[in-house]
Symmetry: C2
Subunit: 160 residues, 2 copies
């Protein structure tokens, strides 16, 4: 079996099983500020467990830039909450997801004007910016209890 995965553009339709695309597509839901700003309203399904003492918070991630082909060694998921990644530079990043640890991963690339929100429990690769400053705002669960499962592949996948 080939261990290669081809990258496809990130679209709402293709990504729907895994999460939300956070962007300014379509018509604005509301025009505010005397016509100077469009609000694209409520684009993320935030789903954070409060039963385990969690709450929603904003953190900043600073990630190393990656090059293609990218070697995917592991995927992870967060059983206690959704996780949004908003790029702080107008540059593409890779978004890797999988239906299950033994499924073939899927790889998407953003268009430089998209963030994403992984649904709670979605298997995904780590943060992989391809250009820019590597800064992301992350909206996820803040809490003291464990919220990470990892799966290391027997052999890595090559993403290109």
């Amino acid at each position: 079996m080939s261990r290669r995965v081809s990258i496809e553009p990130l679209t709402v339709e293709a990504f729907a099983p895994y999460g939300d695309v956070l962007d300014a597509r379509g018509e604005a839901d509301k025009i505010i500020n005397a016509g100077q700003c469009g609000r694209y309203h409520d684009r993320a399904t935030i789903d954070v467990s409060e039963q385990t003492g969690g709450r929603v918070g904003i953190s900043i991630f600073h990630a190393t830039l990656r090059a293609l082909p990218y070697t995917l060694d592991l995927i992870e998921r967060h059983p206690e909450g959704s996780q949004a990644f908003i790029p702080m530079s107008a540059d593409p990043f890779l978004v890797i997801v999988a239906d299950a640890p033994d499924a073939t991963p899927k790889a998407f690339v953003t268009n430089g004007a998209q963030g994403i929100n992984f649904h709670r429990g979605t298997w995904h690769g780590v943060l992989t910016p391809l250009a820019g400053n590597g800064l992301f705002a992350v909206v996820d669960r803040i809490g003291e209890t464990p919220n990470l499962e990892e799966h290391v592949f027997d052999a890595p996948w090559i993403i290109s």
Copy 2:
């Protein structure tokens, strides 16, 4: 009385009465992803009223770029919740705040790698990007009840 306000760099100290600076300053709170990513943890004081049926959400704002000097006609505030603005391009934007409608406003400019989170109820100017794509992720209260107060100045302030 002069109606001119000088712009100063956005710093954590100067902005503290009004909100949080969302950036990757200092040492990361946690290094994740096998050393490839620093997490600057829980940087925003999210404060969203749930008593009026609200919840936290993520929206995308697309704002017109502004030029200096900027004419400040009005300020606004949101009594029901904090509001975070995360730039989706690595460019500066103006952050204007006021202690009260009749106080002299303060104007800050970001360094291109900073977002901000206004504390609940803080008087502030509308979104004023100075460069870039004008896209921002906004983390604020989603709800059906009113959450906006505006104050129009008798005479505008000139921000430069």
